[in-house]
């Protein structure tokens, strides 16, 4: 089995992160924004796993587990908010939530 160089892993991870970020910024639907956020978190997870396997350390995988739990908690809160938002505004358009402007 050929080892994948860390550099390639990092490229993949940054691509994923960028895709996620663009998704968060460009999408208007809050649900898709949450999903893009997940993509970003996973991009970070890929970087951790790659680094852990290169240096033969368990820390990378431990961090990934932490990130997974964090993502689960975040999605729980996020989805709850989404339901409230759907109830209140009958829409998931994030731009409706701009009452706190300067």
């Amino acid at each position: 089995m050929t080892t994948i160089p860390l550099f390639h892993v990092l490229i993949l991870s940054s691509l994923l992160f960028l895709i996620g970020f663009v998704g968060v910024v460009a999408r208007k639907n809050t649900l898709f924004m949450l999903m893009s956020l997940e993509v970003m978190l996973n991009a970070v997870g890929v970087a951790f796993i790659g680094a852990g396997s290169v240096w033969q350390q368990a820390d990378g995988q431990v961090m990934f587990v932490l990130i997974l739990t964090l993502a689960a908690a975040e999605v729980a809160v996020g989805l709850a908010l989404l339901i409230r938002m759907q109830n209140k505004y009958r829409s998931l358009d994030i731009d409706l939530l701009n009452q706190m402007k300067g």
Binding site: F21, V24, V25, A26, K28, K101
Partner: protein, 629 residues
């Protein structure tokens, strides 16, 4: 103790009158103001006796401590204290004596005015300020009185404030004298800065000590004294209506006639002369400034004499003549003839007050007609006023025997051999005397001789009090020259007497005495038209010449338009250009800049989450980029 209370009778009367004002009847208001003035006269008479009985001819009283001034040389106490010596004694007797007679006159003259109480209140306040001015033992208190008389002058010129011209004249007087006052204030600061004292006696001793010490005055001190003297002269010039700040005095005649007599002839305008005489120890050390004073006096004396020749308003003739007589006093001071100058101040106060009050009575009798060309023949119609006016004019022309003769001859006699004056200034003084007699004759011929050029019936005021005030003034003018005035203790160093080696030609005194007669003789023929004008039918009217030269002289030799061109016009132009305030605009740039940022930042806080995220991401990229570079 009497000295301490001198200004307070009037102050009390002022407070009473200004508080109760219109509630007081004419009798009550007149009694309050005139009797308080009588008390002042009584007190100053007693003080004069006390003064001559005291051993060093100086009375001093300290009322209370005012404030301290700190200086590198130590603390200087500024007290509210009065100082009476020969010089201030002359001044308080003039202020209280002439002031009393004018108050008496004014109480009757202004009887029908609805604001009578206010008028008398201002007159009283003026006397308070004037007494403080002449009695002050330090220059700060003197400055208080100085500003006080300026204020009263302003209030009284604008007393009939319903007329716009009166208000403008008041404002002009206030602003023009303010220029002089500012110069004087700077002079006082410089004086304090260089000597650390503002007490007059202390300054005098300090100046004398340093000039008599072995090393003499240092260059810096001499320089300072020159500037102090020049700046004080600026103050005196403003108050005494001398060149170049003389333009306010003729306009000040807009005030009621007693005001012109009291403030703009007898007392306030001589405050400048008093100031210079009071600070003569400083002026002595600066012969250049003495020379300037003499020249300023001489030029004013001639210019005012020429301007008086062309006036049509009886009061303006007298105003210009006041300027020219004060020019004589300045000339005397500049020549170092201190006591002659102060003597002329006193006699001038008598006869000019008389002239103004008589002019006031004439104007009153003619239903407020001030135009000389609408008068004529008054000697027959108003014999009482006419004869008193003649007395006043005789003193003004300095005919032998009158008070003006003694004082004016005393001045002229000292000019020729003075260090700081000289023959040229002597000739100026003689020419001035000639002009004086010519315009006096013109005034007399126009108003009192010839035939009447008015149709209304005259109504002469026959009140006994008013007439007695005039008669006392006339007696003072005639015999005031005989009052022995011994000021040798105040002025121990007469500059004029210091160089006897200059030979005076023997014809000097003869010519000086003859000059007024030459003037009378000249005008007797030259103004024949005014003297003998006959009415042909009822059409005949004498009118003033309207040639350009005469109008130019009538308007005070163009100083008003010159100042308008030099100062007022450019100032108005600047004000017009600067309507929106350039400095303000520059300062408002700050506000504009801040509000720009305000708007930009508000736009950033648009509440849109995605924008925030984008900014967040961009900023991180920026930071990373910077840290990589």
């Amino acid at each position: 103790m009497l000295l301490a209370s001198l200004p307070f009778y009037q102050l009390l009367s002022f407070l009473l009158l200004i508080t109760f004002g219109k509630k007081l009847s004419w009798q009550l208001a007149a009694i309050i103001s005139v009797s308080s003035m009588a008390l002042t006269v009584l007190a100053s008479t007693i003080l004069l006796f006390e003064l001559s009985a005291s051993e060093n001819q100086i009375l001093n009283v300290n009322l209370w401590h005012w404030f301290d001034l700190n200086h590198a040389l130590g603390k200087s106490q500024i007290n509210l204290s009065f100082y009476l010596d020969g010089l201030s004694a002359v001044m308080i007797s003039v202020v209280s004596g002439v002031g009393f007679l004018i108050h008496l006159f004014a109480a009757i003259y202004m009887k029908s005015d609805e604001n009578f109480a206010r008028f008398m209140a201002y007159m009283n306040l003026f006397i308070v300020a004037m007494l403080i001015l002449v009695l002050a033992d330090n220059l700060v208190l003197l400055y208080l009185g100085w500003e006080g008389v300026g204020l009263c002058s302003f209030l009284l010129i604008g007393f009939w404030y319903h007329e716009k011209n009166n208000v403008l004249a008041a404002r002009k007087a206030f602003i023009v004298t303010r220029i002089g006052d500012t110069s004087m204030a700077i002079g006082l600061l410089l004086l304090f800065n260089s000597f650390g004292e503002l007490n007059i006696a202390a300054v005098t001793t300090l100046v004398q000590q340093s000039s008599h010490s072995v090393s003499g005055l240092s260059v810096e001190q001499t320089n300072n004294i020159y500037w102090i003297a020049l700046l004080l002269l600026g103050g005196a010039v403003g108050k005494s209506a001398q060149l170049p700040l003389q333009t306010w005095l003729p306009d000040a005649m807009a005030g009621p006639t007693p005001v012109s007599a009291l403030i703009h002839a007898a007392t306030m305008v001589t405050a400048g002369v008093y100031l210079i005489a009071r600070m003569h120890d400083i002026f002595i050390l600066s012969p250049e400034v003495m020379n300037y004073i003499a020249w300023l006096g001489a030029i004013t004396l001639l210019l005012a004499g020429i301007a008086a020749l062309a006036q049509t308003d009886i009061k303006r003739v007298l105003a210009y003549s006041t300027m020219s007589q004060i020019g004589y006093m300045m000339l005397a001071l500049g020549a170092g003839a201190w006591s002659a100058g102060v003597f002329h101040l006193m006699t001038h106060a008598f006869f000019k007050a008389l002239l103004f009050l008589t002019a006031g009575a004439v104007i009153y009798a003619l239903h407020h007609q001030q135009n000389l060309f609408k008068m004529g023949g008054l000697l027959k119609k108003l014999p009482f006023e006419g004869s008193l006016f003649v007395v006043g004019l005789i003193c003004l022309m300095a005919l032998p025997g009158s008070s003006g003769f003694f004082s004016k001859e005393a001045i002229i006699a000292q000019l020729w051999s003075s260090n700081t004056a000289g023959p040229l200034l002597w000739w100026c003084a003689i020419l001035g005397a000639l002009l004086t007699s010519i315009y006096s004759c013109r005034l007399f011929f126009l108003a009192f001789m010839g035939t009447a050029r008015f149709s209304d019936k005259t109504h002469s005021e026959k009140n006994i009090l008013l007439r007695s005030a005039l008669i006392i003034l006339a007696l003072l003018s005639l015999f005031g020259g005989l009052i022995p005035l011994d000021l040798t203790l105040v002025f121990p160093t007469e500059l004029a007497a210091s160089i006897p080696e200059i030979l005076e030609p023997s014809w000097l005194h003869t010519l000086a005495i003859l000059t007024p007669f030459i003037g009378i003789l000249f005008s007797w023929f030259y103004f024949k038209k005014y003297r003998t004008s006959r009415v042909v039918g009822s059409e005949y009217n004498l009118s003033a010449s309207e040639s350009r030269l005469v109008v130019f002289c009538r308007q005070g030799l163009g100083f008003d338009s010159l100042y308008s061109l030099l100062f007022i016009k450019p100032y108005q132009w600047l004000a017009e250009k600067n309507k929106h305030d350039v400095v303000d605009q520059v300062i408002m740039l700050n506000a504009w800049y801040i509000s720009l940022w305000h708007d930009a930042l508000i736009m950033m806080q648009n509440g849109s989450l995605r924008w925030y995220l984008a900014a967040f991401g961009l900023a991180i990229m920026l930071l990373l980029g910077v840290s990589f570079l």
